[in-house]
């Protein structure tokens, strides 16, 4: 795949991104501006329906932007989509595995879509099966996996092609403590090695512990971006949870 390198400093640059549905009646994104620097562990917090998944889907090409632009490491997600999608890896909120494929096949086909050779795929599959304790389940079809195993497979799949920019959309929703611990250990490790992480989560304490920069999003708009301490200071509260409640709560009080 052709990969153009234009701006190594910004992992993600979003400018005036708008997304509407139903002929403009539903405004999911109302002009998002966002920058994530290379190597950051970035959190995106907001209530359900705030626009987090729409923003991520637009970056990954699952939704088409109505106006504005987004680029991953300088590659525009529309005009240079092959490069943008090669840089990015995406673990979606909802499990979207092919029920009839085994764990091993899921990873193998995914690697193939990204142009990895058979040898590269086999080596990477072995690594990921070990990291996510999936080796024993590698021949199991997705439909027979437990919820936790499915989640592990989805995250392993996102990492299969060694993305420079990893998007984790609610990766720990409904998963056990063991996976949560293993996942964060591994993600922090690859973050230290240079992988940029974009995390959306409803667990405020996770965001507080892991993210070095956080954006608050609600009603299709970015409300505030900063470090945890900057946000606390800006909202004049003591905890990130209070920041979140104040930011999103204020919005809810706004008449519709």
């Amino acid at each position: 795949m052709s990969v153009t390198k234009k701006d190594e400093k910004l992992a993600l640059q979003v400018k005036g991104l708008k997304k509407t549905y139903n002929d403009g009646k539903v405004k999911a994104l109302k002009g998002i501006d966002l920058e994530i620097k290379s190597g950051q562990f970035f959190g995106l917090l907001g209530p359900n329906g705030a626009g987090k998944s729409t923003l991520i889907h637009t970056i990954m090409g699952l939704a088409k932007p109505t106006s504005g632009s987004a680029s991953v490491f300088g590659a525009d997600v529309v005009d240079d989509y092959q490069a943008a999608r090669t840089y990015a890896g995406f673990s979606p909120q909802d499990i979207n595995l092919d029920w009839f494929l085994t764990v091993e096949q899921t990873l193998d086909f995914h690697g193939g879509y990204y142009g990895m050779t058979k040898k590269e795929r086999a080596k990477r599959i072995d690594e990921l099966l070990k990291v996510f304790s999936l080796t024993e389940k590698k021949k199991s079809r997705a439909m027979f996996l437990s919820g936790g195993m499915k989640r592990r497979t989805v995250i392993a799949r996102a990492l299969m092609h060694r993305p420079k920019f990893l998007i984790l959309d609610e990766p720990t929703a409904g998963v056990d403590v063991e996976l949560r611990r293993d996942l964060w250990k591994y993600v922090q490790e690859i973050n230290k090695q240079g992988t940029t992480i974009l995390l959306t989560t409803h667990y405020i304490e996770e965001a507080e512990e892991l993210c070095d920069q956080i954006a608050l999003i609600n009603d299709g708009k970015i409300l505030k971006v900063g470090t945890v301490s900057e946000l606390k200071k800006a909202f004049k509260v003591k905890t990130l949870e209070d920041v979140y409640l104040k930011a999103t709560g204020d919005k809810q009080e706004t008449p519709v």
Partner: protein, 256 residues
């Protein structure tokens, strides 16, 4: 096309072929049995009481039409159900978020159904030729007629899989559109035997021309000019592929 893009396309095609090859009883053996039941019942049992048609026994007369029917049904069924299934599971998102191009996606989904149909028709043809002597007057017209008709309905399958929102819609097209058109297109009889207005009405059935092209290729007899029919099938196939290419490029019902 770069090496990575080839691997991407090949992976898509490999996954599609794996899908039908992993359930051979449903996707290969079942349709083969159906074809042989038609040959046995209509050809051998009933056919022994029917005079020759255009100088060949009834069983030989119906075989080109039966092969075409198998080609149409299997290429359509494979692609419509596979694409629809991928959409319903959201498993297609993994392909849509990858660097593979829209055209690679379209070609892989289209060709997979055609390959499945070609496998079934080749086995059916080989086995039928062991049972009865099958002439072959114009091999290239026979092969081209079958393949183009298969490609046309493989593309129709992709289109229906794309636009459908329920399984009911997919089977409805098959039951209420395809099957009547195939049966009334002259698989089991020559249009010359029909009284008016049915003789004229049959000329409005596109499958009538496909059957006659394939029949001309094998038996050397056709109710219509086979070259004009071949041209019409080619034009129709190009038209449907163009429509599909446009819809895939737009991301119609694939990307929100």
């Amino acid at each position: 096309m770069s090496r990575g893009e080839w691997i991407g396309f090949y992976s898509l095609l490999r996954r599609e072929c794996y899908r039908f090859l992993s359930i051979p009883r449903q996707t290969v053996a079942g349709p083969l049995l159906e074809t042989f039941l038609y040959i046995s019942v209509f050809g051998a049992a009933l056919g022994s009481r029917i005079d020759q048609i255009h100088g060949v026994s009834y069983v030989v007369f119906i075989i080109p039409g039966l092969l075409l029917m198998s080609m149409i049904m299997n290429s359509y069924a494979n692609n419509s159900s596979s694409l629809f299934q991928q959409k319903m599971m959201h498993a297609i998102d993994d392909q849509l978020a990858s660097p593979v191009s829209n055209y690679s996606l379209l070609v892989a989904y289209t060709v997979a159904g055609l390959l499945r149909a070609l496998i079934i028709v080749t086995i059916a043809f080989a086995t039928a030729s062991l049972m009865v002597h099958l002439p072959m007057e114009h091999l290239w017209i026979f092969v081209l007629g079958l393949t183009l008709s298969g490609l046309f309905f493989a593309s129709i399958g992709v289109l229906v899989g794309l636009i459908s929102t329920t399984f009911d819609q997919i089977s409805s097209y098959q039951t209420f559109v395809l099957q009547p058109l195939i049966f009334l297109g002259g698989v089991f009889y020559s249009v010359a035997l029909l009284p008016e207005p049915f003789k004229t009405l049959t000329h409005f059935d596109p499958i009538f021309y496909m059957i006659n092209t394939v029949r001309y290729g094998m038996l050397g007899h056709s109710d219509v000019n086979p070259y004009w029919s071949l041209l019409a099938i080619t034009v129709a196939t190009i038209a449907i592929i163009t429509i599909n290419a446009h819809l895939f490029k737009r991301g119609y019902k694939l990307r929100s």
